[in-house]
Symmetry: C2
Subunit: 345 residues, 2 copies
DNA sequence: ACCTACCATGAATGCGCTTACAGCGCCTGG
DNA sequence: CCAGGCGCTGTAAGCGCATTCATGGTAGGT
């Protein structure tokens, strides 16, 4: 900057103004500065600017690592892994750009999440955290210095902004569809581990729909599992091995389990949806690939990212506004696995 | 930091050392500092650190915007848009984290790409650029101050590190498969616009395979099109409306066109692969969703991102090493559209 | 012709940190 | 017993920029 100022015959203050508030510099002077900058290959230092202006122009996103960082880049595991983070990243990037911010992303490494978040926090004006990525205490401390918004999952710290999706309502609507439109009444629900607030909310939605329809309501999920494909498969077998009449439909707390169950049912020669209907929750791309295509509840992850940016921007503008908690609507995707006609591609 | 130093009864230099080189501080002192930091909710400033240390610990990625930022978040257009950028981002993030860097991403806005790259450049230690995202002249200037690696596409500036995929070899191998394994000899190639170096390289690979097999070699692609679905569909119709015997197989320079062609052929009642085989290039997820599933050449986009980070890290370590140009291997994905048995999910 | 208001610019300060460099106390070998 | 070395810490000088305040010049008002 000093060199540019020299070459243009102005002071560094003027060079700064050319970039910060072009309008306040005479156009002739401005052109001279710009020309000098180009000639010298001047690239303004973000660090210096950040230090002097006390703001970085960057928003951040911390998310759990979606996969083993040392995993092979095998052709096979391409889309399956396209999990939420990618969509959230996309949504945030887009919204951030619209707002004039860049986006800094960092997955939490198994090694030291504490460091991770400190690294990010020091470089951004505010950031979003996917649930359970960062220890609550770290967040507690950091959120005293800059805006943080929690994404999905429970609102661990109540003075933070928070966005979640309509787990309860989505599962209720899906259940209503199974009962009301398909006439299924022997329903089984496969939940997640009891500590997962999302899975619990979904179960409550399921219960409510059952109650409303006068269908027998279980106090607990029929099975609890770890929300992976393998566990879903196991859960399906367990459910069908139980004595008595098998369920007419199995609702899984997420898509991964439902896909596993599809495999299990195929192994047993049980037809889906003719013998048993299967549904999931999330709307992962894999759900469209499997046959029958998986009926599920789609979470608007991209929008989640966009709303996160909006919340951050708003809080930056009004730091002591009341904390906000948004609930984003979800969409029931009726596909073949519940008995609906498969919409051909 | 001053407050932390005060509270711990040390100088700010010692506080700094606690974070930069913990080993050089007596452990008792270190604990005192850490305790004070925690009590005060100290979050080190990335800007200040960056300014003082002349390095940011951040790598960047500039890519073209994959979609209209104002597009609806409709459930339908979910996976189709899962383009390269997401996979590259994923690869870079993972590799960067392994190397101790964070990742800053920014899509080029139609508005001002020039600004964009300057914004990014000032905040990072080095960055990767997807081909044709940034005007060459801007890159020229910026690459004088910090490492830049060009991703995919031609090597526009020859003193930059550069990574591309094996367009030529991949298309050659795919063509050999069609000729050698399936016995097709009437082949048509639908290329991109002449300015696309990727598409041209693919065409050359096609030609070479034809020559080697003694199959008639066209000097130019049978059709040139814009590499979109709509154009692919148009191209397929055009090809089949030509007088004379229709081709036994059509090779498209990318998946998008091939998918469009699949629709066109369905419209005409032409069976794929029985009447005509179809192939693409890229390995987009949509290619697995369509029926018949699209035989194609898969680009290792995630690895592209990882290699980009490695190159940046290496150049940071050895700024005046010779520029490197990597060619990543691709994988032929044999699916149903060429006549191979469809691997069931 | 003089004062005020305003515009364009320069001088100077400090943002929060890293990093020589220097200093202090202590230990070692000669 | 002293020179030299080592381990730990403090001092101080910036890093490259934004920004406040002061300054000179110019136009408008009276």
């Amino acid at each position: 900057m000093y060199d540019v100022a020299d070459r243009a015959g102005v002071s560094i203050a003027t060079v700064s103004r050319v970039y910060r508030s072009p309008g306040s510099v005479r156009s002739e002077t401005r052109d001279r500065v710009l020309k000098a900058a180009r000639a010298l290959g001047y690239v303004p230092s973000g660090s210096a600017r950040g230090l002097a202006s006390r703001s970085t122009g960057v928003l951040g996103l911390c998310f759990p690592d979606y996969a083993d960082p040392d995993a092979e880049d095998s052709p096979a595991n391409g889309d399956e892994e396209m999990l939420y983070s990618d969509e959230i990243i996309r949504g945030m990037e887009r919204a951030a750009r619209r707002r004039g911010y860049a986006l800094l992303i960092a997955a939490s490494l198994a090694g030291g999440p504490e460091n991770l978040v400190a690294e990010v926090a020091g470089r951004v004006d505010g950031f979003a955290v996917l649930a359970r990525t960062v220890p609550t205490e770290s967040l507690e401390v950091i959120s005293r210095r800059l805006p943080v918004v929690m994404l999905a999952g429970p609102r661990e710290i109540d003075h933070l902004d928070h966005i979640e999706v309509a787990n309860h309502d989505g599962q209720r609507e899906l259940t209503r569809h199974l009962i009301g439109d398909h006439g299924y009444r022997r329903l089984a629900f496969v939940g997640g581990e009891a500590v997962s607030p999302d899975a619990e909310a979904r179960f409550r939605g399921f219960r409510q729909a059952c109650e409303e329809a006068g269908v027998e309501v279980p106090g607990q999920p029929d099975v609890r599992a770890e929300m992976t494909q393998a566990e879903g498969r196991r859960a399906a077998h367990a459910l069908l091995d139980r004595p008595g009449e098998p369920p007419r439909a199995i609702l899984f707390a997420n898509d991964q389990m439902a896909v596993g169950a599809l495999h299990a049912l195929e192994e047993r020669g049980t037809r889906v949806p003719d013998d048993i209907a299967v549904t999931g929750f999330d709307g992962i791309p894999l759900g469209r690939l499997v046959r029958p295509a998986l009926t599920t509840v789609r979470q608007p992850m991209r929008r989640l990212g966009e709303e996160a940016v909006e919340l951050l921007v708003q809080r930056l503008a009004a730091p002591k506004r009341e904390p906000v908690s948004l609930v984003l609507p979800v969409t029931v995707m009726r596909r073949a696995s519940c008995g609906c006609p498969d919409p051909q591609l």
